[in-house]
């Protein structure tokens, strides 16, 4: 643990392994004491984690291992000489242990200070006299610290591997079958261990423990294999059961299908019999009057829609072209007096009057003829674009109606095919002699309905042709208007007109300023509302101001 390494003044290598200088070792310990302790620690960790490949877990054990090595090196330092030194190390060790438990989500309730003192008390090391008696621990009295294998020649008893319960066979899953298996295996393993010990009386406790640990590992592996095999068998049995279930379901479905087919044949026979006997009527049930009425209504509605659409078609040649004419053409119309006023249409007269009114307004604010034309052309272009948008929407509606008509055709065609099939059925099942008249009547009825469907089909087909023509007309209209408006090839003119409009706005501002100066004495405030009641003979009208502000200045409301 890093915290411990900071408190430890011993140098460490890059991997955290403690290094020591000869003078840092406590005299009395063998040269290789620390190396042997570390080797034992490494061997223990490697053995117990040999089956674990989880890098996070390995990192945790490595941290704990490094910390322990540092503690060992630290406690062997010549600087550690009395009760307080030893307690401090034990305290650090306990705190590190507690911290790791907390990090693992298993907090320990051990108090590090009490624990350190208890260890020292166990060793009969007291703070008062600093006397350290002989360690009371003997191999016989402490089974978990058995006799050493040897002293390795360094005079220090190596720390043996303690036998713990942690290497006992793992508890199997908690169901009765697993419990029985586990008990059986545990009993078997214990017997094997006892037998092993009896067969090797010459071994030391440490050798026995190591052997038992290895044996236990083997038994655990055996248990694991048995559990795995049983899980696989369960899985296979489940799959087999599932396959059998599927087979049963398939048989049921086959049986149901046969029952359904039988019932269908039965119903078919009943229908034929009812038809032959004149009860009910197959045709009426299949193609009843309500359905026929609905089809006729749909056809009638389609024709009506087509007629309405035809009436909505706008030919661009007259009105639209007139709307798209430039101011110059309108001026020419006015100045050339091409014809008496009574020969112009009402719309043309109103448009001409409007233009003249606007032109007068432009002139009153020093807008040139060219500028006025550009402004008017710009307005007209907006209107044309709106007209094109309208035509596009209309064309879209016509397209939807066309699709609906095509769907109707498909439905009618299906009805015709069914009706033809019905007539064939009727012909294949001639009636008894006493039912001939009724039979002939039904056949005639079917043929009559077939004829109605054919007629409906023709109407819908005509409707489709009309809708297609309508869409084509819309497309042509859009092309014509677009051409007239110059949307496709007059972009430079648009830019030019906008430039002219910008200049016109500037001139208009200048003119308006002069205008206001001239009439400022009579104008209480400047604004649309304030100008509304001005004298029309010598002041700008509200119409003009609204037009000026909204069209030329690009503002609305009471903005100045």
């Amino acid at each position: 643990m890093p915290e411990e390494s900071e408190k430890n003044n011993h140098p460490t290598s890059e991997t955290g392994e403690p290094t020591e200088s000869p003078e840092q070792r406590t005299e009395g310990f063998g040269e290789n004491f620390i190396a042997k302790i570390n080797e034992r620690i490494d061997a223990f960790v490697a053995e117990i984690t040999k089956d674990i490949e989880d890098s996070a877990f390995i990192a945790k054990t490595d941290d704990a291992k490094k910390m322990l090595k540092m503690m060992v090196a630290r406690i062997l330092s010549p600087d550690i000489r009395d009760y307080s030194d030893l307690k401090e190390i034990l305290l650090d060790f306990a705190q590190a242990h507690k911290r790791r438990r907390e990090e693992a989500g298993q907090p320990s309730d051990i108090d590090p200070g009490e624990w350190a003192e208890s260890i020292l008390a166990e060793l009969n090391i007291e703070n008062s006299d600093h006397t350290i008696p002989e360690p009371p621990v003997t191999p016989d009295s402490t089974p978990q610290v058995p006799e050493p294998v040897s002293d390795n020649g360094d005079g220090i008893e190596p720390t043996p591997e303690p036998a713990t319960n942690s290497t006992a066979p793992e508890e199997p899953p908690s169901n009765e079958e697993d419990d029985e298996t586990n008990a059986e295996l545990t009993s078997e393993s214990m017997a094997m261990i006892e037998e092993y010990i009896k067969e090797h009386p010459q071994f030391t406790w440490a050798q026995r423990i190591i052997a038992v640990q290895q044996r236990t590992q083997d038994i655990i592996a055996t248990i694991a294999v048995k559990f795995a095999n049983r899980s696989i068998n369960k899985l296979i049995n489940t799959r087999l059961q599932g396959s059998e279930d599927i087979g049963v379901v398939k048989k049921d479905i086959g049986s149901d299908n046969r029952a359904i087919s039988s019932r269908q044949r039965e119903i078919s026979d009943q229908n034929r019999e009812r038809f032959i006997n004149g009860r009910g009527g197959l045709i009426d049930r299949l193609y009843g009057s309500r359905r026929r009425e609905r089809q006729l209504n749909q056809a009638e509605a389609a024709v009506k829609k087509h007629q309405e659409a035809q009436s909505r078609i706008k030919t661009p040649t007259d009105e639209d072209i007139m709307q798209a004419r430039t101011v110059q053409e309108a001026v020419a119309l006015r100045s050339s007096e091409t014809g008496p006023a009574e020969e112009l249409t009402g719309k043309e007269i109103r448009r001409q009057e409007k233009f003249e009114e606007q032109l007068a307004l432009y002139e009153s604010i020093n807008i040139s003829q060219e500028q006025a034309e550009a402004i008017y052309w710009h307005e007209q272009q907006d209107r044309i674009e709106q007209q094109i948008d309208f035509l596009k929407e209309e064309m879209e509606v016509a397209g939807e109606e066309l699709a609906q008509s095509k769907r109707e055709v498909k439905e009618i065609e299906q009805s015709r095919q069914r009706l033809k099939s019905t007539i064939k059925i009727l012909e294949k099942h001639p009636p008894e002699d006493n039912r001939a008249a009724e039979y002939n009547e039904l056949v005639s009825s079917a043929e009559e309905r077939l004829q109605i469907l054919d007629q409906t089909m023709e109407v819908v087909a005509a409707n489709i042709a009309g809708q297609t023509a309508l869409i084509e007309q819309y497309r042509i209209s859009i092309d014509q208007i677009s051409f007239i408006a110059g949307l496709s090839n007059r972009e430079p003119d648009v830019k030019k007109s906008r430039k002219i409009i910008a200049e016109a706005r500037k001139n208009a501002m200048d003119g308006l300023e002069d205008y206001f100066k001239r009439f400022s004495a009579d104008i209480p405030e400047v604004g649309v509302g304030g100008m509304g009641g001005a004298d029309r003979t010598n002041r700008p009208s509200s119409v003009f101001l609204n037009f000026f502000l909204s069209t030329i200045m690009g503002v609305k409301g009471k903005e100045k």
Partner: protein, 58 residues
């Protein structure tokens, strides 16, 4: 405290430390295996449930 007593005390403390360390690592390993076992059991149960649902057409 003479040098011999100090050496004996240090050896015992190291023995305690190593022993506690081993117990701690063994506990960690045991917990790890138990956790892995429970995860495998849960996965196995999930697999079986999936197969059941597949068979029953759910």
């Amino acid at each position: 405290m003479n040098e011999q007593e100090l050496i004996a005390a240090k050896k015992e403390i190291i023995r305690h430390m190593v022993q506690d360390f081993q117990s701690e690592i063994e506990t960690m390993v045991k917990d790890y295996h138990a956790k892995q076992e429970s995860v495998l059991e849960a996965q196995s149960a999930s697999d079986i449930e999936n197969i059941r649902q597949t068979i029953s057409g759910q």
